[in-house]
Structures are given as structure tokens and as C-alpha cells.
């Protein structure tokens, strides 16, 4: 059974209303394993530990079946914009 990428995406989308979301299935046959990059206004003013807690809480149901979860990015829209701007300026040099 396990959890699908679509289920993870739909829970995160409905609970955290992200402006950007990447869910990558990284399971190598040992069970549901995901990597997440998420940008949400709900992270505003929150430290990293709290941001990860918010993501974990949004996936509370799925976590019981998820084997491994890696939150690579949990950014605010402003941080996301800054990061994209710096990537773009590097790309155009």
C-alpha cells in the first residue's frame, strides 16, 4: 500500500496553501520515501524547526506509512523570491 506522491501533494496543498511545491518520490523499493521543497506564507516568522513541524503536522496521517521524509526546503515566499533572483542573476552573467 503506502502513500502516493499525489496524496502527499494534495495534503500539503490543502493545508499549507503553498505558492511552490515539489514532491519527489525517492523510494528505492523499501517503502514510501519523499523529498519535499515547499514555499508557503505560513512559514513567515517561524524558525526552521517550527516550519518542519508544520509540514510534519500537515502529513500526520501519511507519516504513519511514510518510511522516510526529507524536507529540503521550507521557505517563505519572500525567501523563495530572493533565492530565485540570485539564481537568475547568476544564470544571466
Amino acid at each position: 500500500m503506502g502513500v502516493t506522491k499525489e496524496e502527499v501533494e494534495s495534503s500539503l496543498t490543502s493545508k499549507l496553501n503553498p505558492i511552490h511545491l515539489e514532491v519527489i518520490d525517492t523510494s528505492g523499493g523499501c517503502g514510501a520515501s519523499f523529498e519535499i521543497k515547499i514555499v508557503s506564507g505560513q512559514f513567515e516568522g517561524k524558525r526552521l524547526l517550527e516550519r518542519h513541524r508544520i509540514v510534519n503536522a500537515a502529513l500526520e496521517k501519511e507519516m504513519q506509512e511514510i518510511h522516510a521524509l526529507s524536507i529540503k526546503k521550507a521557505l517563505t515566499p519572500e525567501q523563495w523570491k530572493q533565492q530565485q533572483d540570485s539564481e537568475n542573476s547568476q544564470a544571466t552573467v
Binding site: 526552521l48 524547526l49 513541524r53 500526520e60 507519516m63 504513519q64 522516510a68 529540503k72
Partner: protein, 115 residues
Amino acid sequence: TLLCNYAALSPQLKTTIDKVVTSDKVVLFMKGTRDFPQCGFSNTVVQILKSLNVPFETINILENELLRQGLKEYSSWPTFPQLYIDGDFFGGCDIIVDALKSGELQETLEKAMCS
């Protein structure tokens, strides 16, 4: 299952965990041991702590299912490894990697070692 999860952390187990997380400045609950990590995430954190040259205690949660379930509730954190510094939950693997890059991990460890 909700009832089941809540039952995991009895008052006695909470008292035990309180003692364990304060028994050393740095305590890592992990899958496997420092010499034999049984999961890539646990291995990453062990390597980081070794590279920073801090003394740390490790506890293998694969050997104690009750402790494993109780800790998830104790820290409100669903996965392992779990790192405690000075009795406080610091985070899991991704947070530790980020904190290493930003210097926050070294800072927190230095503070703990001096306290």
C-alpha cells in the same frame, strides 16, 4: 491509532526520557549505533557530530520499540534520528544539515559545552 499513540508516552517513560536527554550534553536517538548506523539519515548526523569533534551519546531506537514510540510523542517529531542538545530537542537530519551550513549548530553546541 490515535489512542494508541497517546498511550505510548506514559508518565514513567516521560520521566525516563527526561533523564536520558539530560544525561549528556549531546544525545542522538538513531537507527543503529555510531559505528553501525542502519539508515542514511542517522549516518549523516553521526558523521556531522564526529566532524565537529563533540562528545555525544547515541541510543539505538531499533532495539526499543516502546522508547521509539514514546520519543515521537515526547518531541512531537515523527522520524529518527532525533538530536537533543542540553536537554532540548534540536531537530532531525535536514535541520541539522541546514544548521551546520548556517553555523547555528556549531554555535548551539559551543553554548551547550560551556554551560
